[in-house]
Symmetry: C2
Subunit: 357 residues, 2 copies
Amino acid sequence: MSADDGATYAPASMPRPVVDPGEFVIAATHLDHGHIGGMTEALIDAGATLKWVYDPVPERVEKFREAFPQVRVARSEAEVLSDPDVHLVAAAAIPSERCDLGLRVIDAGKDYFTDKAPLTTLDQLAAARAATERTGRKYAVYYAERIHVEAAVLAGQLIDQGAIGRVLHVAGFGPHRLGIGRPDWFFERERYGGILCDIGSHNFEQLLHFTGARDGQISSATIANHAHPDTPGLDDFGDAHVILDNGTTGYVRVDWFTPDGLSTWGDGRTFILGTAGYIELRKYVDIATDHGPGQLLLINGDGERRIDATGSVGYPFFGELILDCLNRTENAMTQAHAFAAAELSVRAQAQARVLTH
Amino acid sequence: MSADDGATYAPASMPRPVVDPGEFVIAATHLDHGHIGGMTEALIDAGATLKWVYDPVPERVEKFREAFPQVRVARSEAEVLSDPDVHLVAAAAIPSERCDLGLRVIDAGKDYFTDKAPLTTLDQLAAARAATERTGRKYAVYYAERIHVEAAVLAGQLIDQGAIGRVLHVAGFGPHRLGIGRPDWFFERERYGGILCDIGSHNFEQLLHFTGARDGQISSATIANHAHPDTPGLDDFGDAHVILDNGTTGYVRVDWFTPDGLSTWGDGRTFILGTAGYIELRKYVDIATDHGPGQLLLINGDGERRIDATGSVGYPFFGELILDCLNRTENAMTQAHAFAAAELSVRAQAQARVLTH
């Protein structure tokens, strides 16, 4: 963000590694979703030392080792969980299996960092809440579409600085490209959790975060398989209207209809309305421009500004998470918040009306 | 829209006057809302002959005459309604009075063209439906944010041509600037009808139009006075989740929070998701660019395109309405559609949950 933006509001300084090599040791296990790569890399960038990788599928381990050649290959999950050096286990299991894995990690006395959605049922949620309360261990969640998107991080900082007044409403659009080569579980609702639980979870988390709410209620939700009759277990569409506990509202729309002609996987957008201005995030593409990803539009009493967030604020979540684990604090994200987002996601999916033509 | 857009899809030819002078005579009465100017001008551009103006407030009549010096000033509403030359009465009364006026116009054997929202209660809706069914007269509505916005007209044409496949979802954002100098009725909910009925009606109409639905249900709605304690009758925010009768969904958000720094009165947007692409409308401003209003973003299998709709398609509604009145057809907009949008607007307002902090 250059001085040319005329910005009154300044991004926080770029995060740096928060620990020295060996001070915070992590393992990566259950590589079902490719997000594990971004999760691991971001932790390493924040100072973590990657010791172990484990997955039952050798091909996935090999691919992971290409990206992280320093890693040791564990022969079993138990080898990872029994290593007293390991502080945190990062994992991207099949969504329906993420909670069971988390409970094993927590029972082993370690903190857990899972890809979103962190779980897929209310029973799992109750078990996860109980485990964290009993042990004090963390069940942290990689809500990537906020914590790993600089425009979204910058938006949070601008809101904290009062750039748009009091936030009243957040709308999030999360279109994704279906592509080819998705694994079987991707089309089985019981395993991926349904679209509002799966990719919807990113946006429920953002509703809570940007409105500053602690919790919310799903006022209305729908899901559909509009145009993929060969994979009836796929929700290709979902939306939800949310009333937050602080008198604000939000709306989430997610789908698998990114057109072939879009230059990236999805035109993720967030609109944050405040009493004194609004922010629009064009996270991954600013359509039909050469602006690149990471565009933040800020409109308030000072005028209209487009801010390129790329390189502005980095991803402070990961260093904060490391310090939270070491210091038993909650600066990166509170456990209550991570679970509140999960609860909205699971409840939205469970109560969604199924659309038919 | 230039050839440089590489557009496969072409706008229809620009509309021209559909009748000669004197063939279709109109009057303008009840000038409470400034929209009457745009309504009258658009009808004149389509060939209508303006004969009369009537309003009980002389200052409003004088202002209208400055814009339309050819007009004759009627001494009463009755003088207008009793003139056999007059085919149609255009009016922008206080919303709660629009239906009574329409019933008088229809009882006089003339067609009625009212500013939106066309009415504010379900009782009025029943009376208006009965009157149109009994007489065959028209109760037409100026849903300006679609029929008088070239980007929106072009969007409809592109959808009809299959540019984005089957439409699945429409989201409409209608922020407005409160400004100063609004009349008293603007802050009295009984008279303006509430935010979802008033400015919301534009977007409910677009949900029906772009999805091709005949009707819908309000699944969830909220209203609030978030930040205007001095005018408690003002809803400064409203939103609604709608399930349409053809298995599609929509979402509407309206508010009076346009920041002072925005270069126009409101950043109206529409997002139309189809099975084969999507359209975004930046109706009045493309933030932080010099593109001007009327920008249509089209993303489908052919790529990402921004199309400047200004000067591309004009406003065919008005000529079609004139011919509909002369020929007793329904090409501009069906009566059922105009009332379905009104019903969604009134029902959304009536069932909206009132948000509190």
